[in-house]
Homo-oligomer: 564 residues x 2
């Protein structure tokens, strides 16, 4: 599908031909981000089948009472429609003379370079640059260079803030306040419908010709959920028109906006826009690339013995490991699709502990600690889930969102072709090994980093509290669950039989193999439950003997003596 | 823009070339409907810039607390994506050998006929037919004929029910229940978020080759707010593949679904689908055309002396006058954009009385009566608006939706380029002549039809109640309002001066010229207010003298004697 690894040695991932059937691929793998936000790399011009996403970590909202909480799709600022002599620029029409779309993972910059002839016969060269700043967590910027190659053209650009975007049809925002300041700075302030998070989304545009600033009048429109401008410029053959677009996003859930009023946020956002405008696109890109060097490439210079592709592959992983991780805020975690799209709704799973944590533990222990703090801070949700299911202690949600949301796994997905009904998603109910996976993450983090402070403040408590869950979870009957189809009602029915053998059992679970539901005594689940309880007993004894103050505090909170 | 009136004599409105810059034009003017629902004539295949709308009259919903009520965009069933040997059918790519899009206003059938060569070189002929049945208010149907002209092809069609559509970004529905019955009948049951209206939206597909039914296996998907199937068929050169899609829509607000449970509605919807399937597309189209003949063309055969275009133009108007009018239900009225799109949100304005009512009064008095019953039934909203503004009697909303909604004009629209703020929409606050326009409609209806029954039950009361509003509305001071821009705050400020001259005044209104706001003693407004009061006085005297029973009932309800 047009992927080209010939520049892997230069840290460049490249697509060398446009394919309208597979837009999602480079939108996702070339996504930009900084842990605060993720920006899917959809093209500036629109395409059918595109998915345009801007997601801010931790800003969960429930679209309605029947939905689970998800990261809302923030009003879009990447769509810039371009017309050349009135003809819409789209790779679906006209002639493509050359096309490349590249992600430079060293600098975290996206670039598209296209020579295109419109259906009217006007040939233009277009180069699109885009960064999400790692230095300035709220900021991203776009630069477009347009050079007519076959004669003078008139160019129309339509660009602004579009809050008509949804999450696959679900609208998470009110149609918020819209304003135009000083005739050029656009600002939109929508609020999430259920969680009540105020977003301040702002943008402005700067035009240049051959790198000298020019004044382009703006024709401004405010529509439902949308504020945008139309810009018209005449450009001579071989002259280069440059448009730089600066964008920032703030929310009142942001840790650095704590205590700020809406007016203060709006003013900070405008000031930041003006700063970006002063600095300019290339310098913003440079300072962000420098931050990547200092934060990622210099401290974690992983070398793979192999070919260029192998070396590139590990760096590509490192790139995304930084893009996805909320290093700035321990009240959030890593979504299963990171911040590259709506899939998995921004929820975090056991993937954090089992697949991701090792990298951070070994390379950026401070970041790893934040991820582990998240699990500690979300104990209220885990208590709520345990209580709702009749258990004690902390029962972690299979899918986790905001700290006190508790379980957020959707209840139904896709269709059961036999019954014609939506499939019930059992993971949120019975994929219970997540609780010991979380405890395991804590233990593993401690083993690798030796972070005693975390253990004293959070880690022991979490391991005790999860062990308490498992103790309450054990069953003395061995239940076997069977799924059958009732031919009368065409519904799937669960029947169970049980035996008693004097042993403890953990019945009716989903293990790591999610294609097997309603299993009894799943090896992984049971082994990890035992490990969790044993580890708790060991720490109980250690603390009681060696750290009586910590022990007393936790014993009082969790009645540990009851269990021993 | 490719409109062709050469077939006007044959009642045919035709577009003879495809223009991706002006999709909205034929989507709207060729829209189909039956007063129960309106279906915008977007193409089966998707285009950027299209607006795909299915609106059911009277089913208003508020997207959130900050929005006004509007007709929600019902899950779409018209989108059918077609691939020829894997290549997406779109007029934006490949070669168009011929193209026509026609609305036959006599039969109310939409037809597109296209010969197209795909970018891969496969030439096909495609004909699309579509009707919204006037005979069966809940039903519409689509027929696609596909003939390969340059060799055998494999065809993939993707079709179903898509509830990911929004009203310009506003989502009005929960992600409702989805089901597949008997492996072929798709049903989706979303509920409006605020008004709680349950929709039952159902569809099925039938395939034929050279008019013999064939079995095409369905690959079924249920996604968020979406259920659809993918169908794959091989078609030989010069063979014709036919796909017929039957669709129906029911809601628990429908007058004919009154008292039915959701299960009953779902079952009625499935039975109706099966009926359509048995009848087949062409026979459905014929019975609908016959209904048009009986309801519209035979009883109202307007002849214009002039050319074919003039004759066509009056029939075109008659066509839309039938498409837009809820002849089946007096709890709803005619939206300012009828049912052809989201503009004006399905709200009715004074347009009903001033521009539309005359046609119905003279040609279909029963329909006219329903429109006038709507005004009577919406007195509670008019009372609420009067009370909220400190007046007596019935103050009609400038924009009117469901009976007791009251005023539903949006408060802000588009931008004030001077202040950078959204423009305040003053019509809902101060375009008050609507109240006497409604009274005028009643009087006019009575004058033309002589419908004494309506007057006795509704008409007198409405005229008295609106006159009561005007009496309370009169002011003894003559206030003059001036708009100025405060240079400090960059806000528009209203200042007023007043004088007393011993006369009554109606100050601070918008007259029929909506570009002039905050006017005092607007001629139309004042004249109509006087007319309204005088007409009420006349009826007061007439009734008191000649119809004491009616008079007593109304006098008791409205304390008329107080005013005389």
């Amino acid at each position: 599908m047009g992927m080209d690894y010939s520049k892997a040695k230069d840290w460049i991932l490249r697509e060398d031909s446009y394919d309208h059937n597979h837009l999602g691929k480079t939108e996702a793998i070339m996504a930009l981000g900084n842990g605060y936000m993720g920006l899917r790399s959809a093209a500036e011009e629109q395409y059918l089948g595109e998915t345009r996403n801007l997601l801010v970590n931790g800003t969960f909202n429930k679209a309605d009472d029947t939905a689970v909480t998800e990261l809302p799709n923030v009003p879009d600022m990447t769509n810039i429609d371009i017309r050349i002599n009135g003809e819409r620029f789209t790779l679906d029409q006209g002639e493509i003379e050359s096309y490349t779309k590249e992600l430079n993972i060293r600098t975290a910059e996206l670039k598209r370079e296209i020579v295109w002839t419109s259906p009217l016969g006007d040939k233009v060269k277009l180069t699109f640059y885009r960064i999400v700043s790692l230095k300035r967590l709220h900021d991203f910027a776009i630069r477009i260079e347009l050079t007519p190659l076959s004669g003078d053209v008139s160019v129309e650009m339509s660009s602004g803030i579009n809050g008509q975007v949804t999450n696959t049809g679900a609208q998470h925002f009110t149609d918020g306040d819209k304003r135009l300041y000083d005739g050029v700075y656009m600002q939109f302030v929508p609020v999430t419908t259920q969680s009540g998070i105020t977003f301040v989304v702002s943008t402005c545009h700067q035009f240049m010709k051959d790198d000298k600033e020019i004044d382009v009048p703006i024709e401004i429109y405010m529509k439902l959920r949308k504020i945008y401008g139309i810009f018209n410029v005449d450009v001579k053959q071989d002259e280069t028109l440059v448009m730089e677009k600066y964008c920032d996003v703030y929310t009142d859930r942001d840790i650095d906006m704590n205590g700020k009023s809406q007016e203060e946020m709006q003013s900070i956002a405008l000031t930041e826009l003006k700063d970006m405008e002063t600095i300019g696109y290339h310098a913003l890109a440079e300072e962000s690339a420098e931050e990547w060097k200092e934060e990622v490439w210099d401290p974690v210079p992983i070398t793979i013995e192999g070919n260029d592709y192998d070396q590139f592959a590990i760096r590509f992983a490192q790139y995304h490991m930084r893009v996805m991780v909320p290093a700035h805020d321990s009240r959030m975690n890593i979504g299963a699709k990171s911040l590259t799209g709506e899939g998995y709704k921004g929820h975090c799973f056991w993937d954090t502990e089992i697949f991701l944590l090792p990298y951070y533990m070994f390379t950026q222990p401070k970041v790893a600690r934040r991820l582990e703090e998240y699990r500690y801070l979300s104990l209220p949700g885990a208590h709520a889930k345990a209580a709702a299911n009749g258990y004690s202690g902390a029962m972690y949600p299979w899918e986790s969102a905001w700290l006190d949301d508790g379980e957020v796994t959707p209840e139904f997905l896709d269709v059961d072709v036999v019954t014609g009904r939506p499939n019930k998603v059992w993971t949120g109910f019975i994929e219970q090994h997540i609780t010991s996976d979380v405890a395991f993450g804590v233990w593993q983090y401690y083993m690798i980093t030796g972070d005693q402070d975390y253990m004293d403040k959070c880690g022991y408590e979490l391991i005790f509290d999860t062990a308490r869950f498992w103790v309450s979870r054990l069953e003395t009957k061995c239940r076997q669950i069977k799924e059958t189809l009732d031919p009368e009602t065409n519904e799937i029915v669960l029947t169970e039989t049980d035996t008693e053998d004097g042993l403890y059992h953990i019945c009716d679970v989903v293990g790591p193999d999610e294609y097997k539901e309603h299993k009894t005594d799943n090896a992984f689940t049971n082994y990890m439950a035992v490990w969790n309880i044993k580890t708790a007993i060991q720490y109980y004894e250690d603390l009681k003997a060696g750290h009586p103050k910590i022990f007393e505090r936790l014993n009082e909170r969790l009645q540990l003596d009851q269990y021993y």
